[in-house]
C-alpha cells in the first residue's frame, strides 16, 4: 500500500483543467436564480442525486465526476447522502410514475434556497420513454427546474461545465 501511496504522490495530478462555465447554462440560471440566494451560499454547494427512472447511464457519468480526472470537490461541489443536507437536487430519468412521489418527497425534504438540475435528455421531456403509461415525462412536470444539462448521457465534462454555472 505504501508503494501505491508514494507513487500517487509523485505522479502529476490527473485532474483536467477546469472548463469555463457554459454560457447557455449561465443565461438559464440568471433568469431563474436569485443573486442574493447565490451570495448566501457562497462558493460551496451540496448536491443530492435522485434517479427518477433513468437507465443508469446518467448515474455512471455523474459518478465519474468524483474520479481523479474531473475531481468535482476541488470546485466546492460535493455529493451528500441526504436531501436535508443538500442545496441542489440533481435529477435524472423521465420520472416514472412509480418514482413521482419519492421525487416530490425528496424535493420537499430539501431546505430553501434550493435548485434543481435536470440531467439527460429524458429528464427534459421523457425523451425516448415519453408516451409510456408508466412515465410522467420530464422532471419539470413534478418539480421546478433551474438548469438542464442535456445528453444521452451527458459527458462528465458537460456536467461539470453546467454545474460550474451554479457557482458563478
Amino acid at each position: 500500500m505504501r508503494r501505491t501511496l508514494f507513487e500517487g504522490l509523485r505522479r502529476r495530478p490527473l485532474a483536467e483543467a477546469p472548463p469555463r462555465a457554459d454560457d447557455a447554462a449561465l443565461a438559464e440560471l440568471a433568469a431563474q436564480v436569485d443573486c442574493a440566494a447565490r451570495r448566501r451560499l457562497g462558493r460551496s454547494l451540496a448536491i443530492r442525486e435522485v434517479d427518477a427512472g433513468s437507465c443508469n447511464g446518467c448515474e455512471l457519468e455523474i459518478q465519474a465526476l468524483n474520479n481523479a480526472f474531473y475531481d468535482l470537490e476541488r470546485f466546492g461541489l460535493r455529493f451528500v447522502a441526504s436531501p436535508r443536507h443538500a442545496d441542489v437536487l440533481m435529477v435524472t430519468g423521465p420520472v416514472t410514475r412509480n418514482m413521482r412521489e419519492a421525487l416530490e418527497r425528496t424535493y420537499n425534504a430539501t431546505p430553501h434556497p434550493k435548485w434543481v438540475v435536470a440531467i439527460g435528455d429524458c429528464a427534459v421531456d421523457g425523451g425516448i420513454f415519453s408516451g409510456s403509461y408508466a412515465v410522467v415525462g420530464g422532471v419539470g412536470n413534478v418539480v421546478p427546474i433551474d438548469l438542464h444539462i442535456r445528453g444521452c448521457p451527458p459527458r462528465p465534462m458537460q456536467l461539470l461545465t453546467g454545474l460550474l454555472a451554479l457557482l458563478r
Binding site: N56, A64, A81, R100, A102, A134
Partner: protein, 503 residues
C-alpha cells in the same frame, strides 16, 4: 419421468422462430417442463407474456440447447411454474401484473413492478379493469423476539438506482431481507410494440445503461435470427471489441466500488482512473463513452476510428502496468480481506437452481458463460477462459471480476490482431408476416436475453430479460445472518440492475 427434449418434441413447432425452436405445448406438458425445472433437470432462462400466451425459455444444464415453450391461455389462465420451481416467482408475478394472466396455483399473488401508481392495471393485457383500491403491500412476516425492521429506499444514499429494501434485524444481524422493486419501471415493452426496428434497438440499448452494448447486441442477435441476416465478419469482431470494453469498464468500477463500501477508498480512486481510461478509449474508438447505439441489427453503426488501434494499444499497456499493483493491494490489505472473505455467501445449489449467470454464478461454481456455452461469433474463434470459483462470498465475486479483467485484456488484443477488413453492416430487410428471434449475450453482469416477434417491419412484441432477475433473489439469501453494515458490500458485489429488471 420424461426428459425435457421428449416433452418439448410433443409440442407443435412454430416455424418462424429462430435460431432455437419454439413449440406450443399443452397444459400437461407445461406442468411437466415446470417439474423438470423444479427437479433440476433443466434451467429456466426466461418466462414472459404476450397478450394471451405465456412463453418460457428453458435449456439443459450446460445451456447448449435452448427451447421456447409457449402455452395459449385464451381464458387468461396458465399453470403456475413457480409452484414447482420457485425461481419463476417474480417473473410470474410480473406477467400477472402486466398482462392480467393468472398463474393457477401460484405461491405468491402479490403485484410485482406495479406499485399502484399507473392509473390502470394490466397495461399490456387485453382486459383493463378500473383500478380498485389495493390493500397495502404485505411484506413477508417475521416472527421472534427482539426483531426490528429497517426500511431503506427507494431513494438511496449514493448515486445509484432506486429500489426498496425491507430489513428485519435482530440487533446487528439480518434475519430477513425482502426487496420491492419496480420504481424505475418505464414500460419499455409497451414502447416496443409497434416500434420500428431502429427505434426498438435504441430502446433496448437504454434498458440498462451500464449494459447498453450487451442489450443492443442481444437485440441485434434476435432480429438477425428472425430475419436470417448474415452479419459481416468485421462487424462481429467490432461488436466483441465493444462488449469487452464494456465488461472492462464495469468490472473496474465494481472492484473499486466494492472496496469503497468496505471503506477502502484508495482502491476506489485507482480503479476509477482505470475505468475512465477505458471509457475514453471507447470514446476515441467509437465516438461514445458508453458506446450507446453503436451496435445495430445487421452490424455496427460506427467503424473503429483510424487511430483507434493505436489508442487501444496505449490504453492496454497502461492498464497492464497499473492493474497488477491494484490486485496486489487488494490481496495484501488484511483489513479489506477481513470484510470481503466469508461475507455474503451464496450456495452452489441456489446458484444452480436459479440459473444465476455472471460473476454471481461463476463465484459459486456455476460454469456458465454465454460466450462459451453458445460460442456465438467471434467468441468461437477467440481463445479465453471463463474463470470459476467456488467460495461464493464477496471476495470470490471480486476475484472472478479480476480474472475476467485479465481475460478481457487478452481478448481485446486478439480481436485487434484478427480484425478482418470489409463492410460493417448488412442491410436489414424485413419479411412480410411474423418472424421471431431469440438472442442470448453475455453482459458484464451475466446473460441478457432478447426475444423479438416482428410483424413485417414493426415490432409486435419484444421481451428483454436482464440477468438480475435470477440474481436479486439470491442477494436476499446472501445477506441472511450477516450484519446490516455488510449489506452495501454484499449488494455492490452483486451489482444487480434496477432498470434492467424493472423495464
Amino acid at each position: 419421468m420424461l426428459a425435457l427434449t421428449e416433452i418439448v418434441s410433443q409440442g407443435r413447432r412454430v416455424d418462424c422462430h429462430r435460431p432455437w425452436p419454439r413449440v406450443i405445448v399443452t397444459a400437461d406438458a407445461w406442468r411437466a417442463i415446470a417439474g423438470a425445472l423444479g427437479a433440476g433437470r433443466a434451467t429456466l432462462l426466461g418466462l414472459w407474456g404476450e397478450t394471451t400466451t405465456v412463453h418460457m425459455a428453458v435449456a439443459d444444464e450446460q445451456v447448449s440447447a435452448i427451447t421456447v415453450a409457449s402455452i395459449d391461455c385464451p381464458n387468461g389462465m396458465f399453470p403456475s411454474v413457480a409452484s414447482l420451481h420457485p425461481p419463476a416467482m417474480r417473473l410470474e408475478r410480473a406477467i400477472r401484473s402486466l398482462y392480467g394472466l393468472e398463474p393457477v396455483g401460484a405461491p405468491d399473488t402479490r403485484q410485482w413492478l406495479d406499485l399502484g401508481f399507473w392509473g390502470l392495471r394490466h397495461p399490456l393485457g387485453n382486459l383493463k379493469p378500473s383500478v380498485a383500491e389495493e390493500p397495502p403491500y404485505a411484506f413477508l412476516p417475521t416472527e421472534g423476539e427482539s426483531l426490528h425492521q429497517i426500511p431503506v429506499g427507494p431513494v438511496h444514499a449514493g448515486i445509484i438506482e432506486p429500489g426498496h429494501f425491507r430489513f428485519t434485524a435482530n440487533g446487528e444481524t439480518v434475519v430477513r431481507l425482502e426487496q420491492r422493486l419496480g420504481y424505475v419501471h418505464k414500460g419499455i415493452e409497451s414502447l416496443m410494440q409497434g416500434a420500428t426496428i431502429e427505434r426498438a434497438s435504441r430502446l433496448a440499448g437504454r434498458t440498462s445503461g451500464d449494459s447498453t452494448v450487451a442489450y443492443a447486441f442481444a437485440f441485434a442477435h434476435a432480429i438477425e435470427a428472425a430475419l436470417n441476416i448474415a452479419v459481416p465478419a468485421r462487424a462481429l469482431y467490432l461488436r466483441a471489441l465493444m462488449a469487452e470494453f464494456e465488461r472492462l469498464a464495469n468490472h473496474f468500477g465494481d472492484i473499486g466500488a466494492i472496496c469503497n463500501d468496505a471503506s477502502f477508498s484508495l482502491m476506489h480512486a485507482h480503479c476509477g482512473i482505470l475505468r475512465e481510461h477505458v471509457l475514453r478509449m471507447a470514446d476515441a474508438c467509437f465516438g461514445h463513452r458508453l458506446m450507446m447505439d453503436r451496435i445495430v441489427p445487421g452490424g455496427v453503426a460506427e467503424d473503429l476510428k483510424p487511430d483507434g488501434a493505436v489508442r487501444i494499444q496505449d490504453t492496454l499497456s497502461e492498464l497492464r502496468w497499473r492493474f497488477p499493483r491494484l490486485i496486489e493491494l487488494y490481496d495484501n490489505t488484511a483489513s479489506l480481506q477481513d470484510r470481503t472473505v466469508a461475507t455474503g455467501i451464496v450456495s452452489a445449489d441456489l446458484v444452480r437452481q436459479f440459473g444465476a449467470g455472471g460473476y454471481v454464478g461463476r463465484a459459486s461454481g456455476r460454469a456458465f458463460d454465454a460466450r462459451k456455452a453458445l460460442a456465438y461469433p467471434p467468441y468461437d474463434q477467440l481463445d479465453f477462459v471463463a474463470p470459476i470459483l467456488t467460495e461464493g462470498d464477496v471476495n470470490a465475486r471480486v476475484w472472478v471480476r479480476i480474472r475476467e479483467v485479465e481475460q478481457g485484456l487478452a481478448l481485446i488484443e486478439q480481436i485487434l490482431q484478427r480484425l478482418p477488413q470489409g463492410p460493417i453492416a448488412a442491410p436489414v430487410t424485413a419479411s412480410a408476416g411474423r418472424a421471431e428471434g431469440l438472442g442470448l449475450v453475455e453482459s458484464f453482469r451475466g446473460d441478457v436475453m432478447a426475444w423479438v416477434a416482428l410483424d413485417g417491419e414493426r415490432i409486435a412484441r419484444c421481451h428483454l430479460r436482464d440477468p438480475s432477475w435470477f440474481q436479486w433473489p439470491l442477494l436476499e439469501s446472501a445477506i441472511e445472518g450477516n450484519i446490516v453494515a455488510d449489506f452495501p458490500l454484499c449488494n455492490k458485489s452483486f451489482n444487480c440492475s434496477y432498470s434492467g429488471h424493472d423495464l
